[in-house]
Amino acid sequence: MNGFRLEPRAHSPWWLNVLLPLAAVIATLVLCSGLVVLAGANVLTAYTKLFLSSLSTAFSLVETVVKAAPLVFTGLAVTVAFRAKFWNIGAEGQLLAGAMAAAFIGAREGLPAWSLVPLMIAGGALAGSVWALLPAILKTRYKVDDVVTTLLLNFVFFYGMMALLDGPWKDPLSGYPDSPDIRMEAEFPILLRATRLHLGVLLAALATAGVWLMLRHTTLGFEIDAVGENPNAARYAGINIAAVTLLTAGVSGALAGLAGVGEVAGIHFQVMAGLSPGYGYTGIVIAMLARLNPIGVVPAAIFFAIIITGAEAMSRATGVPVFLADVIQGMSLITMLAALMLTQYRIRWNRPEHE
């Protein structure tokens, strides 16, 4: 009669953790179906195309997995950072930093061929780290808000990169604002013949296991959770919060950097403006859907890979613009955040006490 109100929950049952992401996704699809209708298509046909086209053939299945690799990396990067409440919105910039480093190293003629791949991996991870450490130092030293700095540094990096690509680092052969191609020997080996399944996919799987191991089984993971959940208590317990934050930022940036390395060494073999269609930002949605669980990042990343690859097929078949994929990404973050509230509150309907 008087509507409803939110009441704090004493306990949140475990099945909510599984149910919530699913519910968020379903709610997103329902909400977005309005847009599909507006685009003049049949909702069922559009969604079928969206989901099934990327799973229908062996080739498209592999393509989906390849697409998921950078998303797994950025999802992990955000997961690690958010666990320590280091609000890294900057995976996009860190990814580009990794990509730039990889493209630079991969194009060096003077280096021995065997050293290129390991150097690109190490250099890309390091570059991502450095770009993430910058805001982390500002946060720990001067208490500068990390949301703002990590976000804005994305633009600093992107436009800095574009200035380079349009100037001193422009590919002399193509004349486009692209970097020169990396050497053949620098390309990631292909794991499955006649596909694009490259080494980066394997690295993403290894990184998932590594992050899980770190969070679950190391003192660093323990301290990351302590700092993230209650920095005051962590400080009183003798944990060095600044050190943990910096380490977290370094690991997070390295993971994002590896996403960039994979894209350069496995897919594009150069750096250009469209290298990342917002993988760093999608990583945030993925991490939230995964509830900051590294294992959960994998299905969440695959889900978005399906949508991103499926959007093309859907668009061709039904005329719904590919941008629906972006809307779904944004909408699922919002629905997931709303759903997360239900882990702490329950809805009570106000009703008269006497019937």
Binding site: N2, R5, E7, A10, H11, H217, T218, T219, L220, G221, F222, E223, D225, A226, E229, N230, N232, A233, A234, R235, Y236, A237, G238, I239, N240, R348, N350, P352, E353, H354
Partner: protein
């Protein structure tokens, strides 16, 4: 001829998951009553008051004010029915003046504050209840006691006829508490009803007219506060069994464990310490009394290495430790029970097992080369849960699901497991019920008996007096005096807490 009671709660029931927090609670409050509401933690007092305040909707039951059934969905509803509440933590705007805070949310008078109207109402409250505050002082400049008075005045100005006070004396000097009691009696004298929630039994006896005791979500006893009521009797009614006071054997203080000489800190946002000199020996408990915010928390932080020293010396076991990190101080055998167990002691969202090893996770026992030894952590947690009788469904439950008493036991178990040579404890029994507090006290005395040294910071003078060998009183970042327990009286300590030094 009989008028209906001021407030009547009938058959109130509320369930949270598996816990029946309120199970058919009946409560009657008449005008002129000061009702003491007693019960162990988790007995359901807070839930009951939250239902009265519209925070929770009851599953069953009925609330009536002046005999008329009312439905309360929010604190605004509660106030509209004349129910006011003074929480443990105040809801004031520090930058506003007393008058601004009083008039916040007062409707129907246009956008501008009507100064004349406000002064008039403040005058009425002073005449009726003897409560007075200067109208133009900023809230940030008031003492805790004055802020509480302001909260009460706020409730009165909004027309409260039923006033609920939750642990109102936790941060008051004995003299301030007496002032509060006088005001409460004046309210009762004018036909208002007061519900007084406290764990301090002597206050319940001093101020209430009737006592209601809750246990496991039910009212288990109700008695008029007459000559038959004693502290022991109330404690027994509350816990359902007899309570023995802690036994304190005499010890001879041993070697100096903590020496502080002319210690200073730079304040900033927190009160600064101005030349503290103290000494604590093995087998000794030094009580530190004072109204909160006079530097006690800072003293503990400085000793624990959390707050930097800006002058003077700090020695633990004969070693100068002024520049050590918290972890290095721990390694010297210093245990710490912080004031705010949910905020700085434990991490409520982590599993209990993690909290049990939080400060020691880097030690060989719990990790090797950066990898956690989950088995050892679990065994250690189970051991502590068992030996301290912590009520918990295993070591993997979220720490926050434990009751206040069990949280404190967990914290205590964690620190005592390492047999500290020096234990710092702040407000160790705040919010604990009698039985849990006794348990904690006995553990402290046991430690003292085993040649442990302890600094006990507390606002509860009863606790200070029953445990300490010597009492240091802090005021505005200074030690006013250190009294031997045999020379100390509540009145003397109370005056020192207020910053008054007796004429020599």
């Amino acid at each position: 001829m009989e008028s209906p009671p001021l407030l009547e709660m009938r058959g109130i029931a509320k369930r949270f998951g598996d816990v029946q927090a309120n199970d058919g609670v009946d409560l009657t409050l008449n005008g002129g009553d000061i009702l003491g509401l007693l019960g162990e933690n988790g007995a359901g007092k807070t839930t009951l008051m939250n239902i009265l305040f519209g925070v929770y909707a009851p599953d069953r039951g009925r609330i009536a004010v002046d005999g008329r059934t009312v439905r309360i969905h929010s604190s605004a509803d509660a106030l509209a029915h004349g129910v006011g509440m003074v929480h443990q933590h105040f809801h004031l705007v520090p930058r506003h003046t007393v008058m601004d805070n009083l008039m916040v949310g007062q409707s129907g008078r246009g956008l501008r504050l009507d100064r004349g109207f406000a002064l008039e109402r403040m005058g009425e409250i002073e005449r009726s209840f003897g409560l007075r505050l200067p109208p133009d002082v900023r809230v940030g400049d008031l003492t805790i006691g004055e802020q509480q008075r302001l909260e009460i005045m706020k409730a009165l100005i909004r027309g409260a006829r039923i006033l609920v006070l939750d642990e109102p004396t936790a941060a008051l000097t004995p003299q301030e508490a007496d002032g509060l009691f006088t005001a409460l009696r004046a309210m009762a004298g004018r036909g208002m009803g007061v519900v007084f929630i406290s764990h301090k039994l002597h206050e319940i006896i001093a101020v209430t007219t009737r006592v209601v005791i809750m246990q496991h979500g039910r009212v288990v006893a109700e008695t008029a506060n007459d000559d038959t009521v004693s502290k022991m009797r109330l404690a027994e009614l509350m816990t359902g069994h007899e309570i023995t006071p802690p036994s304190k054997v005499s010890t001879t203080p041993g070697a100096v464990r903590l020496r502080i000489d002319n210690l200073q800190t730079r304040g900033g946002a927190r009160p600064s310490l101005k030349g503290i000199c103290l000494e604590v020996r093995a087998g000794e408990i030094l009580g530190v009394a004072g109204v909160s915010g006079n530097g006690q928390a800072e003293l503990a932080d400085v000793i624990a290495g959390v707050l930097p020293v800006s002058g003077g010396t700090l020695e633990i076991n004969g070693k100068v430790v002024s520049r050590l990190t918290p972890r290095e101080v721990q390694a010297l055998g210093v245990g710490r029970i912080p004031e705010d167990r949910m905020g700085t002691g434990l991490i409520t969202s982590l599993p209990l097992r993690s909290c049990m090893v939080l400060p020691r996770i880097r030690e060989r026992r719990f990790s090797r080369c950066g990898f956690l030894k989950h088995g050892a952590i679990g065994r250690f947690a189970d051991q502590q849960i068992h030996s301290f009788g912590i009520q918990s469904a295993g070591n993997r439950v979220r720490t926050g699901t434990l009751s206040g008493g069990n949280l404190q036991k967990a914290l205590l178990a964690r620190e005592l497991a390492w047999e500290p040579t020096l234990l710092l404890a702040a407000q160790p029994t705040r919010g604990l019920d009698v039985a849990a507090a006794r348990f904690v006290h006995q553990r402290f005395l046991d430690l003292r008996g085993r040649e442990g040294a302890m600094v006990l910071i507390s606002e509860d003078l009863e606790e200070i007096f029953s445990l300490s060998d010597r009492i240091a009183v802090m005021f505005e970042g200074r030690i006013m005096d250190v009294l031997d327990i045999h020379d100390a009286t509540v009145a003397r300590v109370g005056l020192l807490m207020a910053g008054v030094r007796e004429a020599a």
